[in-house]
Each structure stands twice: as structure tokens, then as C-alpha cells.
């Protein structure tokens, strides 16, 4: 059962990645990267790695904040 859940979450991650690659707005990319990070955390938890999940949770927040700070000084729109 966990495997199916993992597969579904992975599919979600793949979808998010595609959205990031093809997106036109960097802010949206960054925000859905935050979601990506959250899904990853869930996934790690399901796989029985709470330590890694904990770390990923913290890191996900921090790196998203980093990204957003950077976005302040660069153009949001991309081709």
C-alpha cells in the first residue's frame, strides 16, 4: 500500500517538475518548489526516514526563503 502511495506522490513530484520547467513566472516556480519540498517530506516520512524528513522540512523552508529573497532582485518573468 505504501508503495502505491509513494508512486502517486512521485507522480505528483514529476508533475511539479514539469510545471517548473515549463512555467513562465519564476515566483510560481518557486512557490510550487516549496510544495515540491513538502511532498518530498511526506514521501520520506512514508519511506520510514523521519530524520531525513525532518531535515527536508527545515531545508525546504530555508531554501524557499532564499529563493524568494533572490527573486526580489531579479525579473520574475521568463521566456
Amino acid at each position: 500500500m505504501t508503495l502505491i502511495l509513494q508512486a502517486v506522490l512521485l507522480l505528483g513530484l514529476i508533475g511539479i517538475t514539469l510545471a517548473i520547467i515549463f512555467g513562465k513566472d519564476l515566483m510560481i516556480s518557486v512557490v510550487i518548489y516549496c510544495a515540491f519540498s513538502f511532498l518530498t517530506m511526506l514521501l520520506y516520512n512514508i519511506m520510514g526516514a523521519p530524520d531525513v524528513a525532518f531535515t527536508e522540512a527545515v531545508i525546504g523552508v530555508i531554501s524557499t526563503v532564499f529563493f524568494i529573497i533572490i527573486l526580489k532582485s531579479i525579473d520574475r518573468k521568463t521566456k
Binding site: 502505491i4 509513494q6 512555467g23 516556480s29 520510514g48 532564499f66 521568463t78 521566456k79
Partner: protein, 137 residues
Amino acid sequence: MMTLINTFLADKGIYMLTLLLLSLGVAGVIVCNNYMKKLICMNVMQVAVIFFFLCLGQKSPGTIPVAMDTVVKASDYINPLPHGLMLTAIVVSLGTTGVGLSLLLRIREKYGTIEEDDMLRREELMTRVEKNGGKRD
């Protein structure tokens, strides 16, 4: 049906999806025109590898690797080694992201753009200027 899917997933499916994620990440790094997106894709790539390692450590009846009792049996707990390794890998990825972001900021300041094709054009121009001894043609 359920067991069939489970067997397939356990055998190949999860690995396939992980590798797909990895390929997407690598492809993103190569294809994306925007340096910021390249950086995000780089993170995706690293997550895929971390995921791959954690897959290796799964054990179907096992619980999380925190000992509940003083006497432990190996088959009761999930393999802790990949977790340890991947903690390191995550930290490294955070470090790389930080460095990448600061480089990005710097590039934006020096060149005014973070798009690959603009950059290439600008670099070509700079090379030509350098060749002409500082004069623009």
C-alpha cells in the same frame, strides 16, 4: 490486481519513476533558459537521488530506526545507513543552492540578465570588445 501493481512497483516501478524524476531534473538543468530554473531543477535532481537511496533502505515489515527496546533484531528496523548518508547529501544540496543563488545574484548584477541566450550574446560581445582592444565595433 493490487498485489500485481505492488509487485511491479517494488520490482521496477518506483525506480523507474525516480529515474524519470532524475532525468527531468538533468534535462531541466540542460534545457532551461533561465538560470533560476536551472537551479531549481538542480535541486529536483538531487532530491531524486536522495529518494533513490532511501528506496534501497526500505524494509517492508520494519519500523523507523529508533530502538524501542534494549534488545534489537535487525529485521525489525529500517536500514539506517542510507538515512545517514542522505542527511549529508541534503546538507550538501543546501550548500550548493546557497552558493548558486549568490552566484545568480552576482550574475544579475554584472550582466543584468539571467537568461542563458542573452548571456551568450553578451559574452560574445565582450569577447569581441576584448579582441579589439577595448573598442566596440
